[in-house]
Subunit: 434 residues, 2 copies
């Protein structure tokens, strides 16, 4: 006998939408760490964050219905941090430290909501902008990306047959598990999920993270997704992002202050966070420039997260720099997180094993690898390179140079100025897949 729970079914029929973001904790952990610091240092700075689709050939506005997009964004704006969530943030320890978040910050979060957005269609793309206080707009980055990516996935799967969808997910599971099996033979692997922003969908990310937990055991150290970390009792992983040096640089009154901005940010950070949270992003304005002018104390930080140079080259460059500074790389940590997948994780792991501590942040290719899985014709499930970047701070344009010119963002004239200040040493163009 098939038993249908009529009440549940009737309730489900009443859904206005299937929300993509259902909790403000469904974001990356580094957002909260940065937010706490920004709120102390820059409570009045105003920023604009903007969606940038680097995969121009994918015309998102032709694929995603604007009404559905607005409904999802509006739903995210209706969210508040739940009481249980705030208690967990206050009571849990992060990176071995209790009370990472101050009672004052937690109390402020209780009233937090996402600010308004500005949406229009231009030439088949969505122009999606968030204007307002930095401490509000910065929280849109992850939910905005997750919403657009999942709406695109849903569009590609709309009106497909029940078995076609079943086979799609079966193949994706099989594909991920093959990756897990390859990774499971690397004995000292340290890996975490960094896949929230580019995920195929929330439920799929959750499956991937729980599969990794079963397949890799302790070698999965956690997830950047705070909600999943809470629900699956994993560590919440993350430190800081490019927006810190980008805003600091945008606010710099002159070229000298601009040149100092990357280090000024690190000084601010180390006043707030210690230990394994002292991970520097070297590439905002080029890794070579960053290392050349870095003060000696930067070498006391726990490590680096090279995020736009090829991992082995970037790691070698940083190891040489530590050695020049008289530090032992074996006590240092490199976090690789730029478009990693099993091949590059294996190669990087084998290359550096024993010479430096390593950790991998596995993103798009963990939570959105459906390539070759669909039993129907579609390119709508191939991941695209979508980011949400700060583009303005207090009216000044914000710039990212990156080690890969393909990942640079900002006003062209301002990019020229930054290149004059920082030099363009060591930057090399690599096609951005994800």
């Amino acid at each position: 006998m098939v038993f249908t729970d009529i009440a549940t079914r009737t309730y489900n029929h009443n859904w206005r939408l299937d929300p993509i973001v259902r909790s403000l904790l469904d974001t990356d952990f580094y957002k909260l760490l940065m937010l706490q610091m920004i709120r102390q240092l820059h409570p009045d700075v105003r920023t604009t964050f903007k969606l940038i689709n680097r995969t121009r050939r994918v015309r998102l506005a032709d694929i995603i219905d604007e009404g559905e997009l607005r409904a999802q964004l509006d739903h995210a704006r209706s969210l508040r941090f739940g009481k249980k969530e705030l208690i967990w943030l206050a009571g849990n320890s992060f990176y071995g430290r209790t009370q990472m978040f101050s009672p004052d910050f937690i109390a402020w979060l209780a009233d937090f909501r996402l600010p308004d957005y500005e949406l229009r269609q231009v030439d088949g793309q969505y122009e999606l902008r968030f204007h307002g206080l930095w401490i509000e707009t910065m929280m849109w980055e992850i939910p905005a990306l997750a919403i657009i990516n999942e709406l695109r996935s849903r569009a590609a799967m709309k009106s497909r047959g029940r078995f076609a969808l079943d086979v799609l997910y079966a193949r994706a599971k099989a594909k991920l598990w093959d990756k897990v099996e390859r990774l499971s033979v690397l004995p000292d692997l340290v890996i975490s999920d960094f896949g929230t922003r580019r995920r195929h969908g929330f439920l799929w990310q959750r499956w991937c993270v729980e599969a990794l937990k079963e397949g890799l055991g302790d070698r999965l150290i956690g997830s950047s997704n705070v909600l999943l970390a809470m629900d699956a009792d994993l560590e919440a992983i993350g430190t800081n992002a490019h927006e810190l040096p980008m805003v600091q640089a945008a606010l710099a009154p002159d070229d000298a202050a601009l040149a100092r901005a990357p280090y000024a940010v690190l000084e601010q950070w180390q006043a707030h966070y210690g230990g394994n949270l002292r991970i520097a992003l070297p590439d905002a304005f080029g890794t070579a420039a960053f290392l050349k002018d870095a003060p000696d104390w930067v070498a006391d930080w726990t490590g680096f997260r090279p995020d736009s140079a090829p991992p082995i080259e970037a790691g070698e460059q940083i190891i040489r720099w530590w050695q020049e500074k008289g530090r032992d790389p074996r006590s240092k940590l490199l976090i690789f997180s730029d478009g990693m997948d099993v091949d590059s994780i294996e190669a990087t792991y084998r290359h550096f094993h024993g010479r430096v501590r390593m950790s991998f942040g596995w993103g798009t290719n963990l939570t959105n690898d459906f390539r070759g899985c669909a039993p129907f014709e579609t390119d709508g499930l191939d991941p695209i390179s979508l980011v949400c970047k700060v583009v303005e701070a207090n009216g000044h344009p914000a710039v990212k140079l990156s080690d890969n010119p393909e990942k640079a963002t900002g006003d062209p004239a301002e990019i020229e100025r930054y290149l004059r200040v920082f030099g363009g040493d060591g930057r090399q163009a690599v096609a951005v897949q994800v």
Copy 2:
């Protein structure tokens, strides 16, 4: 919010067992066709059916708990044909014919139940025998095989992790769909599910059949499983089995009657059934012998189901015979059903395409191909060659020679006698995988 239906959950906790066979229609269609005929011609013949595990290295009694096996067999004995099932049997058309089953037969089925069984353990194997009237014991074949195969699958999956099982089924689904995609490019393919007896499990067979229905459309003509045919609105497929000539031969009073037995059975069959149901199994005592002595009218039958010789050789042999008899093979039908899988289906299809009508009965490799799918060490999901054969009729031993001596069954002295009567021409040993 997670909503648990407490009543359903409590009800589920009360299950004594998870029944493998839940309906007497969960059997192969040919059983019902044969049963109707046997009930008219041989209502008093007594037979013994016996389980034979040709894969001796798999010690079933060490793997399957005897208590669980008895509970499943006992549960199958508690089943009766349901009212809806009998109405469907009476009202549905099969092979284009209405009222395939007489009202008298349907009324008799209403009181049918599976007879008792005899079970003991010998040297790590189960000796499972069914003694009694042929019209009762013959109905044990399919449920007995399905029960043992599924109990073995369950044993291999016991205490595996949730994700390990999820990945197992994901891989099996992906594997099957790859097969479906290969078959979907064969434009004139005619295929049906013959996988009940060897299935991994009932739910898995249902998934496979429904996946085939979606992936192959009209080229899936049906299922041998009557319950699935009813539920999925597919044709019920099947004609007759070796037990007919085997019992006819066992009852033969002398060698002359023995030699006539294969054709006597066909005469009985054509008195009951016409059209596409006139499919002869040529290999019970060797195809060469059968064809050599076959009366001319056998060439008027719709076709043959070669079941133990290599498909291309067997097909060529039969086509030659039709041509010798002056029949046009293009109007004839060959049904290939012996251990077929995608490679052999493709090869056979391409070989005979345009020369003869073809249909494929896809069994074990459709409903029980988990080879390479388990993310844990096990050989417990590899299919085995398990059959349930008539071994005695009215006290006389029953024999099957087959075209493949590996598939022969029966008392060795009696096999010798049959070989004298029929000759052993053209028989060749091929390892039996499934």
